[in-house]
């Protein structure tokens, strides 16, 4: 049993768990070895009877606690942590260069290490964001508005609407451009969703993320957000784009159209790529270069083109997909995007499933699960039969862009024919329809 200073006896682990983080202790094991250090939160994957100590050297070690462990509390309880005071913000009022708005949603770009759980945890505190990213204000004033406090896997279509409204609010308030800091996992989906939900944009809407958390000296967050801010100040642009690293270096960034972009790598800085076509531009040495095909700013006013309907699905075809599973997946939805093989195919027994659900009024939209290229129904018999069974072919839309567009279209029409018309109509420059060999426009 542990001997505490009060002389009471109890399980030493209970004693240690009851002490505040930062409390200095001496833990003596059965062999007489003593560990001296401050209690720090244990990793969530630590052993159940392990207590983590930070030693004087700065190292953390895990110490196993059993009934024979002696615990001695050393010194007074730790005093409360003092938070650093972040730099003050420049006034956004009357800035002749115009200010931009930063909407934060959480994600790696706005996360710090959670030493308690061992993972990265989003922060929404505006002061923390500006303390992380002093470079944000390097080229002009920034108004920071926290919107969500979530990792991006928890951001969905309903949140796109909220973000779209904040974007419109920012432009109406006079922002020159808007940057949205977002987790990278679903950043492509949100970029596509906003591309359909926002119309008549008077300036750029730039989504940006980080593949390395800002608590790391090597984080790509600072340079990405600096590049995103430069694009958000560009007066030639009036669409939703994604700005991230263009390569492994911290000095070149790509500007991707929101509907063409996909996360192609789980961890690299240059994970985001425009598919089927080139990026819209680049940022290098603080200068923004844009191709002529960018959508120019609109005279406005900007508007949220809602509503949406989330009764939509995205189904990744695989060779073992049975009719029963496809039917179960489609239950209750008004539309399904199918990421088919090759030019947009599924096994022949699923053609009947397509026929039956489309007959029930469900929209079935075909795309390709290939990483490049588009869907085409005319080349193979399967495609032609799917077309006759009622499937809609969405050309070179990425499956996730098609899904975002479906969510938007379902909110705008009840009639399947009308929904299909909305889906095939170009709304945000999402159809490329011209694929060059070398990625040139």
């Amino acid at each position: 049993m542990a001997r505490t200073e009060s002389g009471a006896s109890s399980d030493p682990l209970t004693v240690l768990r009851g002490l505040p983080s930062g409390q200095r202790v001496e833990i003596r094991d059965a062999s007489g070895h003593a560990w001296n250090g401050a209690i720090v939160p244990s990793h969530e994957l630590s052993g159940s009877r392990i207590v983590s100590l930070k030693l004087e050297s700065g190292y953390n070690v895990g110490v196993a606690i059993d009934a024979s462990t002696a615990v001695r509390v050393v010194g007074a309880p730790p005093s409360a942590r003092s938070e650093p005071v972040p730099a003050g913000r420049a006034s956004v009022e009357g800035d002749p260069g115009g200010w931009i708005t930063l909407l934060t949603t959480g994600g790696t770009i706005a996360s710090r290490v959670d030493y308690e759980t061992g993972g990265v945890r989003p922060v929404s505190d505006e002061r923390d964001i500006l303390a992380f990213y002093p470079e944000l204000e390097g080229s002009g004033a920034v108004r920071v508005i926290p919107v969500f406090d979530r990792l991006s896997e928890d951001i969905g279509p309903a949140d796109w609407l909220v973000l779209a409204q904040r974007v419109v609010d920012a432009f109406r308030a006079g922002a020159r451009g808007v940057v949205i800091a977002h987790g990278t996992d679903t950043l492509g989906f949100t970029a596509a969703g906003l591309s359909f939900l926002l119309t008549d944009l008077p300036g750029p809407v730039v989504l940006v993320g980080a593949q390395r958390s800002p608590d790391r000296p090597s984080s790509d967050g600072p340079s990405n957000i600096e590049a995103a801010a430069a694009v958000a100040r560009d007066r030639r642009l009036g669409e939703v784009v994604v700005v991230m690293h263009a390569g492994l270096s911290d000095d070149r960034f790509a500007v991707h159209r929101g509907t063409w972009v996909r996360k192609m790598h789980s961890s690299r800085r240059d994970a985001f790529e425009s598919r089927n076509g080139p990026p819209l531009g680049s940022v290098h040495g603080g200068t923004v270069h844009l191709l002529p095909l960018v959508r120019p700013p609109s005279a406005g006013p900007p508007r949220v083109d809602g509503p949406i309907d989330e009764n939509a699905g995205l189904l990744w075809f695989y060779p073992g997909l049975t009719v029963a599973r496809a039917r179960a997946f489609a239950a209750g939805v008004r539309g399904v995007v199918v990421a088919g093989t090759g030019l947009g195919h599924v096994r022949s027994e699923l053609i009947d499933w397509v026929r039956s659900v489309t007959a029930e009024g469900v929209v079935v939209a075909m795309t390709t699960q290939c990483l490049e290229g588009g869907a085409d129904p005319y080349v193979y018999a399967t495609g032609r039969e799917l077309l006759r069974a009622g499937a809609l072919y969405l050309d070179d839309l990425l499956p996730e862009t098609a899904y975002a567009k479906l969510v938007w279209a379902l909110g705008h029409a009840d009639d399947p024919g009308r929904i299909k018309a909305l889906l095939t109509q170009d709304r945000a420059g999402e159809f490329l329809r011209r694929h060059r060999a070398e990625g040139e426009a």
């Binding site: 700065g58 110490v63 290490v113 030493y115 800002p214 984080s219």
Partner: protein, 629 residues
């Protein structure tokens, strides 16, 4: 004097956090550029050393090659820690009677000098509280850590530092001793003993930079100074004693400064560029010409204490100049070296009067085209001069080839460590320790005693085998039947004598090659004297031992050929042989060896020569020649 060591030894286990081989390679493909900035740890404080490095504003270029992957590029999360490397560290913990931790927690040690792409070095404390005995004295082992090696610096420009990724992630064990070493020679002995212990595991990497020592040195009244990355064991003593001397000299200067009541005044330095407009030479003129400032920092009471002092080469002026160099300046000029550097006595007098200085006051001048850099430099110089009145500031210093050291950065503190959350903690169960304990390698001292008695070699020679890290090769080769004395000579004398390659890497022949050379010598195909030439031929590119022997032309003298060669030489000198008898052996041996050129063993040649002399003398007498030579 108190000295503590940190011995770093690369391990031969593959990299620590990815599955790349632990090899260096000069083959490079692409490169990429990064910037780093300090970040704060659990307590949200930024480490002083990290903040200093970040203030330099460098960008870093990394060259990639065949022995790195996305992990070294900081583009992918680390793989689990190499269990093999952890076994080596735990084995060392057991050999050093240390207490392994119950759960290993990998930490991030912030290092923003670019040597790690991530901006931190992954490191884990594996065991504490061990001991090692060296020459009857017990030295405390504070810690045994397992960490990843840093990237290799290739070159350094004014704004960019270039690194290669091959070395990044190679496992290092770091063994730290307590500050209980009292002299340079003792430091070297302890380092040798620890090095031999690591090599006893059979998993120590060899070659340039595979072993590096950090030396923590302080003297009474001084401060802990860390001399980082000493690669040559034999220089440890020199660095330690040199640092002791530096601290003693600086303390003497401090006492003098205090006696004079010297102090560095607060306030901005004076820009005296206007006075320097007219000078046409020296380091100050260039900056003045480019319109940069010439900043003067008055140092009241410092006159005569900046330059060389009697009995020591250490001087305060050099310490101040190191601060200016640390931010990219070429140096500074201080009052003890003026007039000079293009500054005439008249100009000196004007500067002194401009600054309002008395005779006992000194000053420092700094000039640079960039006013910002000049100001940063003078601020650092002022801080350092102020510290000189207090004593010795704690620093990290780089070892220089000439045995001196140079300021590198402030001492890092504990704020540079925070948990590596990408790696789950690793429990160390008793079963693992039991398994390792049952297969512990022989300790160096025990091996030394065993080899000595087993092979009848001198203690000194065996010591060189064990502490030189070649005892394994020795035992393998002798087990194959090669003569112990010949193997020992080959390993401790002949192989190390082969000059390093042009790229600086040491020549490391394989055991197979060494065995073939030994066989060639014992079968009489080459003489023992020919071994160094064969090794040199191998080192300079011969593909195998046979072609090395062919290249050197050591082959092709048969025993009969030797006999006839010796007979010919002796008969040519027959009259001398008859006149001098056995005394003729020595001069003739020289002539014979010149022609044999290492193709036959020396002893065999001597025997043959004795026989030939005897034959000639036998025609007149029967006395045995050359006895005793």
């Amino acid at each position: 004097m108190k000295v503590g060591l940190e011995v770093h030894q690369q391990l031969l286990t593959g990299k620590l956090f990815c599955r790349c081989p632990a090899e260096l390679s000069d083959e490079t493909g692409g490169s990429f550029v990064r910037r780093l900035r300090p970040s704060s740890g659990e307590d949200r404080r930024v480490d002083a050393a990290a903040a200093f490095e970040a203030s330099r504003g460098y960008s870093f270029r990394y060259e990639t090659g065949p022995v790195d992957c996305l992990v070294e590029m900081d583009e992918e999360p680390p793989r689990p820690l190499s269990e093999e490397a952890l076994d080596v560290a735990l084995t060392l913990a057991l050999l050093l009677d240390a207490r392994p931790v119950d759960e290993v927690e990998v930490m991030r040690k912030i290092v923003v000098d670019g040597s790690n792409t991530s901006g931190f070095q992954r490191t884990a404390l594996v065991a504490v509280d061990g001991a090692i005995e060296v020459r009857g004295k017990r030295h405390e082992i504070l810690s045994i850590c397992l960490e990843e090696d840093a990237a290799r610096k290739v070159r350094e420009g004014r704004d960019e530092v270039v690194y290669r990724l091959d070395r990044l992630g190679i496992p290092l064990v770091e063994i730290a001793t307590g500050p209980d070493i009292q002299s340079g020679p003792e430091a070297r002995e302890v380092a040798e003993e620890i090095g031999a212990l690591v090599r006893a595991t059979g998993r120590a990497r060899r070659g340039i930079g595979a072993t590096r020592e950090d030396l923590n040195v302080s003297i009474e009244g001084g401060h802990r100074i860390e001399i980082k990355g000493v690669q040559e064991l034999r220089k440890i003593s020199e660095y330690v004693e040199g640092e002791g001397g530096r601290q003693r000299a600086l303390l003497a200067v401090r006492d003098e400064l205090r006696g004079r009541g010297a102090a560095v005044p607060p306030g901005a330095p004076t820009d005296v560029a206007a006075l320097f407009g007219s000078i046409s030479s020296g380091p100050l003129s260039a900056a003045a010409r480019h319109g940069g400032p010439v900043l003067a920092l008055p140092l009241p009471g410092f006159a005569g204490l900046l330059g060389p002092r009697p009995g020591t080469e250490e001087r305060l002026g050099r310490e101040l100049a190191e601060q200016a160099r640390a931010v990219g300046l070429r140096g500074l000029v201080h009052s003890d070296e003026l007039p000079g550097y293009g500054v005439t006595s008249e100009l000196l007098a004007r500067v002194r009067s401009e600054l309002g200085l008395a005779d006992r006051d000194g000053f420092v001048l700094i000039a640079d085209a960039s006013p910002e850099r000049a100001r940063t430099a003078i601020r650092r110089v002022a801080e350092r001069a102020g510290a000189a009145v207090e004593g010795i500031p704690g620093e990290t210093r780089d070892p220089l080839p000439d045995g001196r050291t140079r300021y590198s950065r402030p001492l890092p503190g504990r704020h540079r460590m925070y948990p590596e959350t990408d790696i789950p903690p690793i429990p160390i169960p008793d079963a693992r320790l039991r398994r390792l304990r049952s297969g512990l390698p022989e300790r160096p001292a025990a091996r030394l005693a065993r080899l000595e008695s087993q092979h009848g070699l001198s203690r000194d020679l065996v010591r060189q085998l064990v502490y030189g890290g070649v005892a394994d090769s020795f035992e393998t080769l002798t087990a194959r039947g090669h003569a112990a004395a010949m193997v020992a000579r080959l390993l401790v004398q002949d192989v190390p004598a082969v000059p390093a390659r042009s790229d600086g890497t040491a020549f490391e022949p394989s055991l197979e090659q060494l065995g073939q050379i030994l066989s060639a010598a014992s079968r009489g195909r080459i003489g023992k004297e020919g071994i160094p030439s064969v090794l040199r031929a191998l080192a300079s590119g011969s593909p195998d031992v046979d072609s090395a022997i062919a290249t050197t032309g050591l082959e092709g003298l048969s025993p009969d050929g030797l006999a006839s060669l010796v007979d010919r030489i002796v008969r040519n000198q027959a009259s001398m042989v008859r006149a001098r008898g056995g005394e003729a052996f020595s001069p003739l041996m020289g002539d014979v060896m010149k022609e044999v050129r290492g193709r036959r063993d020396g002893r065999e040649v001597a025997d043959e020569l004795r026989k030939a002399i005897a034959r000639v003398l036998g025609e007149t007498s029967s006395a045995p020649p050359g006895a005793g030579t």
